[in-house]
């Protein structure tokens, strides 16, 4: 009985790993559901039950975390960073960043400090997870 849970967990993890690896691409729920080998509605529901947040929120915060990394570690422009991490408009990026981080990208950049650590750990531990904004209702994982 528990085998089914393990199998579905592993599939959800595979989809989450895909978001961590290819956050810069225009990921959407249908493509993530295909990776997990489940239907779209089943995917959103099960992902949330497994990891405690929707795929949309997970991916949005992964993109924000990666933009925080680039703001700290590089001199790339805000527009470049916005596109680098998978947002398609600077307006959406700046608004989302501010909602989640609590300050605009430019001021975060001024006080940000470089950290040397393996990427997987930075990604796992510094992705904003406390909820600054209530979650939007379920739509596509795309920004």
């Amino acid at each position: 009985m528990s085998r089914a849970v393990e199998e579905i967990n592993r599939r959800m993890l595979r989809a989450r790993d895909a978001m961590d690896r290819t956050y810069a691409e225009p990921l959407d729920v249908p493509s993530l559901a295909r990776i997990a080998c489940v239907s779209e509605s089943h995917f959103i529901r099960t992902f949330r039950a497994t990891f405690g947040e929707t795929p949309h929120r997970y991916l949005q915060r992964r993109r924000v975390e990666r933009s925080m990394f680039l703001l700290r570690e590089t001199d790339r422009s805000l527009t470049d960073i916005c596109l680098d991490v998978g947002f398609t408009s600077l307006g959406t990026f700046s608004r989302t960043f501010r909602e989640i981080v609590g300050e605009p990208p430019s001021s975060y950049r001024r006080r940000g400090r470089a950290m040397t650590a393996p990427t997987c750990f930075v990604m796992a531990w510094t992705r904003p997870s406390s909820s600054a904004v209530s979650e939007k209702p379920e739509p596509a994982a795309r920004t």
């Binding site: 528990s2 849970v5 393990e6 199998e7 967990n9 592993r10 959800m12 993890l13 595979r14 989450r16 790993d17 961590d20 690896r21 497994t50 990891f51 040397t116 650590a117 393996p118 990427t119 997987c120 750990f121 990604m123």
Partner: protein
């Protein structure tokens, strides 16, 4: 006080499948494979690194009740058991390409940082593994 780390541990959900991965794909070798009657004592290590081995342990009764074992299996399969084991290599990119060709699932492609070039991957059960090619000259910042 202590001399060395000789053995560490990974939860695996199936020991034969674990061998297919850790030996067949990662290229480790079996150090011990003994039927102790109450458990299969199965360890693997890097060829040539005799001092260190990994116990591939299967959770289950009688060492723990079935419900506890199910919890461990569920946490492992959703990647919630954290970091498992780290290896070094002389050529991270080549190792990465070899393992991709063998169907290994990566969480991070080769990334170069001050301490070296590394990749992240998962075993078939969801455990998180890393492989690093240390930088030729150690950087001042140390990665923990």
């Amino acid at each position: 006080m202590l001399n060395a780390i000789t053995i560490s541990h990974v939860w695996v959900l199936d020991q034969d499948q674990a061998l297919d991965f850790y030996v067949g794909k990662l290229g480790l070798e079996v150090v011990e494979d003994q039927d102790l009657g109450f458990m299969r004592w199965l360890t693997v290590g890097v060829p040539g690194d005799a001092g260190r081995r990994i116990l591939l342990e299967k959770p289950g009764p009688p060492s723990m009740d079935e419900a506890s074992a199910a919890q461990i299996r569920e946490l492992t399969s959703k990647g919630a058991t954290g970091f498992t084991v780290g290896f070094t290599t002389d050529d991270c990119r080549k190792t990465y390409e070899t393992l991709v060709a063998r169907g290994v699932e990566f969480t991070q492609e080769p990334t170069t940082q001050s301490y070296g070039t590394d990749v992240g991957l998962r075993d078939p059960f969801g455990n998180h593994i890393r492989i690093v090619q240390p930088a030729a000259q150690p950087a001042s910042a140390s990665a923990r």
